[in-house]
């Protein structure tokens, strides 16, 4: 066990898919705020060093050539984005247990 400062909040702003991330650091070099640094171990996923400087623009997610990244909203925001299915009255939220299947409809536009 190490002596470490408390986890900064938000604790985890990005989820890396280990099966897809090849450690190319495209995300590191996209981030305008330099939130991440490359992992000293080549090929490994980057290290999120300054999570509290992430402003959640999603640029890193869009630039990832391997679609390995997910942007994780802070818990306070997962809990404040709530919806109700009109037909059943049931409540849902981002980050819920037993979620609904994804809605796969694409955004409008050709891009």
């Amino acid at each position: 066990m190490y002596s470490l400062p408390s986890l900064a909040a938000p604790c985890k702003v990005l989820e890396f898919d280990k099966d897809k991330c090849v450690g190319c650091n495209a995300c590191v070099n996209t981030c305008p705020c330099d939130v991440m640094i490359p992992n000293p171990e080549p090929g490994e996923e980057p290290i999120v060093l300054y999570a509290e400087e992430c402003w959640f623009c999603g640029g890193c997610v869009e630039e990832c050539p391997h679609k390995a990244l997910t942007l994780v909203p802070p818990a306070k925001q997962r809990l404040s984005t709530i919806w109700v299915r009109k037909s059943t009255g049931k409540e849902y939220r981002m980050g819920m247990k037993d979620p609904l299947p994804p809605n796969t409809r694409k955004p409008s536009g050709r891009t």
Binding site: I37, P73, V84, N103, G109
Partner: protein
């Protein structure tokens, strides 16, 4: 993985991954230097390059994604010359002047109105979709079926366009690089260089520090465009809480204002202030039920499905969808949100809102909390234009909102999105994610910036302003792109007409010593965050709602004390922290500019959100701009007529001035 995981897993602290060379000099020469690679800066770079001059861009982040506009946009203000628009540049500009009693940037608005449609057509040419090419919204009230353009806020006057802009920054960035503009990413410009190092003299370059390597950059240029962002770090600071909900990131520190202030430029409107709406315990932008801005026109229902009606600016309830997108006054138009004109806006230009009696109807039990955006209760086209188009393309929406919501199963055809419960004391509902009653009242600076002429040249020869930071009272994505494009053109014309001047080595040395103090001081124990919190504390205390000559002087003294004491004990463990420390120190200078401007205006001014306890009256003698600047002798302030751009050397006619100065030949 996060840092803790890495350390726990490997038992090692990762070494700084980039080679560090504090103070190593890189000298870069160009005709035009652009400070800040956001949308305004990129457009300035492109416009200057297209005139044939060499262009260098210094960007604090990574220009493909940096700046407020780097995260996308769903509607474009100021393209009033689009073929469907019934608004003219004159109407656009004069409406802004009328609704603010003159306290607006009438000349920038005229330029934007004149060229906004050109600027938008160019991004279309480069690869941004601005029309409903696949006829998805054919026949809807928002669309012109001939041009396939779609409109926001006002479907009668059709001057504000809905666009598919989630990729707009990568597209503009690619164009800038393709044209041969030389881009220096990760370089924070920290100071301007002036002729002979004198304040108030011609600008001949700038210096900066790289936030990965710590190296020093000396940019020499014939003309400089400052296109940095507006800060949210001056009056408030709590990045752990606020970054996920902010529409500006931590890189935006109004550094352009600070370097201009230090170089002796005149700033106006710096005393403007207002309650902060994006602070504390807010919500992610657009992440909650809403009826405003991007959600304008969405159906609203209460807990039991009872519909909440919109109301026009006079409070008359609206029962049809078309009525939501019209002015309450025949012959007028809706200005719309986001272009620094919301405060105290005149009813005839105001956007519709929700039932003004909603709160009393909640108290009487007529409506039950919470409220919902009833997407399923809307027509397919009205729902899709908001969710599939605007919420998929607006800034900070594609990934954090559209992709995250749909990944977790949200389907607007079936699901209603809940409004926060915490805001009901502030009904009508409006922009629900912007702020909450649970946040303590606090204040922020306004939209002040550089005093410019019709060329958007500041009072320093060779320094041009662009974007919603440096240009006072200008705002939003489209306006910034358009004004940036104009400033770049003007900077190129200036560079063509002037010789390069060698910067003063003494000034470079002064700037360099200041930049590297946090890594050359023994025993530094004040980190950038600690200093930033202290600045925000002082600004809330001494530049808030209650100001007197005496308390403003106290604020000035304490900021200077902070600079002289804690500011001289800064700690930075690596180049990233060094640049953040330089930014935090620069906020002291920015705060001084706010306090000095507040001290200079001896009259309260509600339209600027400016109140003086010792000068409560709104005096006609002070219906003017207060231009503040500093030189070796101290701070200077002078009165400037609010419509200075229609007086003196200028014609009283907007179009005549525009034609004279716009450099349209050879465009």
């Amino acid at each position: 993985m996060n840092w803790h995981t890495y350390v726990n897993k490997t038992g090692k602290v990762p070494k700084w991954p980039y080679p560090v060379n504090y103070g190593k000099e890189n000298i870069i020469t160009s005709d035009v230097l652009i400070v800040g690679g956001g949308v305004a800066g990129c457009r300035a770079a492109i416009a200057a390059r297209q005139r044939g001059v060499s262009v260098v861009v210094a960007d604090r982040g990574f220009s493909k994604r940096s700046g407020s506009g780097g995260a996308g946009v769903d509607h474009w203000h100021g393209a009033v010359k689009n073929p469907c628009s019934k608004v003219t540049p004159k109407m656009y500009s004069e409406a802004a002047m009328e609704t603010t009693d003159g306290y607006t940037n009438g000349l920038a608005r005229y330029i934007i109105g004149s060229e906004g449609w050109d600027a938008l057509q160019e991004v279309e040419e480069w690869g941004v979709q601005i029309r409903d090419l696949d006829d998805e919204f054919k026949g809807s009230i928002f669309r012109d079926d001939e041009t396939k353009l779609m409109f926001a806020y006002d479907i009668e006057n059709k001057h504000c366009l809905r666009i598919y802009g989630y990729n707009i920054k990568p597209v503009v960035d690619a164009k800038m690089r393709e044209l041969g503009c030389e881009v220096y990413d990760r370089v924070c410009v920290t100071g301007l260089l002036t002729e002979d190092g004198r304040p108030g003299a011609r600008v001949v370059g700038a210096v900066g520090v790289n936030d990965r390597t710590g190296e020093f950059y000396i940019f020499k240029a014939k003309a400089v465009v400052v296109s940095t962002g507006h800060t949210n770090r001056l009056f408030n600071f709590a990045p752990e809480m606020t970054e996920s909900q902010s529409m500006t990131n931590l890189n935006q520190t109004s550094m352009g204002h600070v370097i201009g202030w230090r170089a002796g430029a005149e700033l106006i409107m710096m005393e403007q202030s207002g309650p902060n709406v994006l602070s504390g315990m807010g919500y992610a932008p657009y992440s909650t039920g809403n009826d405003d801005n991007t959600y304008q026109g969405s159906r609203i229902v209460d807990k039991d499905g009872r519909e909440v009606h919109y109301a026009d600016a006079e409070g008359n309830l609206i029962y049809d969808e078309e009525g939501i997108f019209k002015s309450s006054e025949e012959g007028s138009f809706v200005i719309g949100h986001g272009i620094a004109l919301d405060h105290g806006i005149m009813p005839k230009y105001k956007i519709s809102g929700t039932d003004p009696d909603l709160w009393s109807k909640v108290q009487s039990g007529e409506y039950q909390m919470p409220f919902y955006t009833d997407f399923p209760g809307m027509s397919d086209t009205s729902r899709d234009i908001i969710f599939q188009l605007m919420l998929a393309h607006e800034g900070k929406c594609r990934v954090p909102i559209y992709e995250n919501l749909t990944k977790w199963g949200f389907d607007p055809a079936q699901d209603m999105l809940q409004y926060p419960v915490s805001d009901y004391g502030k009904l009508p509902l409006n922009c629900s994610w912007c702020g909450t009653d649970k946040t303590p009242d606090n204040w922020r600076g306004g939209e002040g910036g550089f005093l410019t002429d019709w060329r958007l040249q500041t009072t320093l020869p060779g320094l041009f302003a662009a974007g919603c930071g440096p240009l006072p009272s200008q705002g939003c994505h489209g306006e910034s792109q358009t004004a940036g494009r104009y400033s770049g053109r003007q900077a190129a014309v200036f560079a063509e007409a002037h010789d390069a001047l060698e910067p003063s080595r003494a000034q470079i040395e002064r700037e360099k010593a200041r930049c590297y103090a946090p890594v050359s001081t023994e025993g530094g124990d004040i980190g950038w965050k600690e200093l930033n919190y202290a600045v925000a504390r002082l600004m809330q205390d001494y530049c808030g709602e209650y100001k007197t000559e005496h308390t403003l002087d106290m604020g000035i003294r304490r900021l200077k004390d902070l600079w002289d004491t804690e500011g001289q004990r800064m700690y930075a463990g690596n180049p990233h922290e060094l640049v953040r420390a330089i930014e935090s120190l620069s906020l002291i200078e920015l705060g001084l500019a706010h306090l000095e401007a507040s001290k200079a205006r001896k009259s309260s001014c509600p339209i600027l959100g400016f109140s003086r306890v010792d000068y409560p009256e709104v005096s006609d003698d002070w219906h003017c701009w207060v231009a503040v600047s500093q030189d070796e002798g101290g701070v200077k302030a002078r009165k400037v007529p609010v419509d200075y751009y229609l007086q003196g050397e200028y014609s009283g006619d907007l179009e005549e001035n525009y034609r004279k100065y716009a450099e349209l030949e050879g465009k």
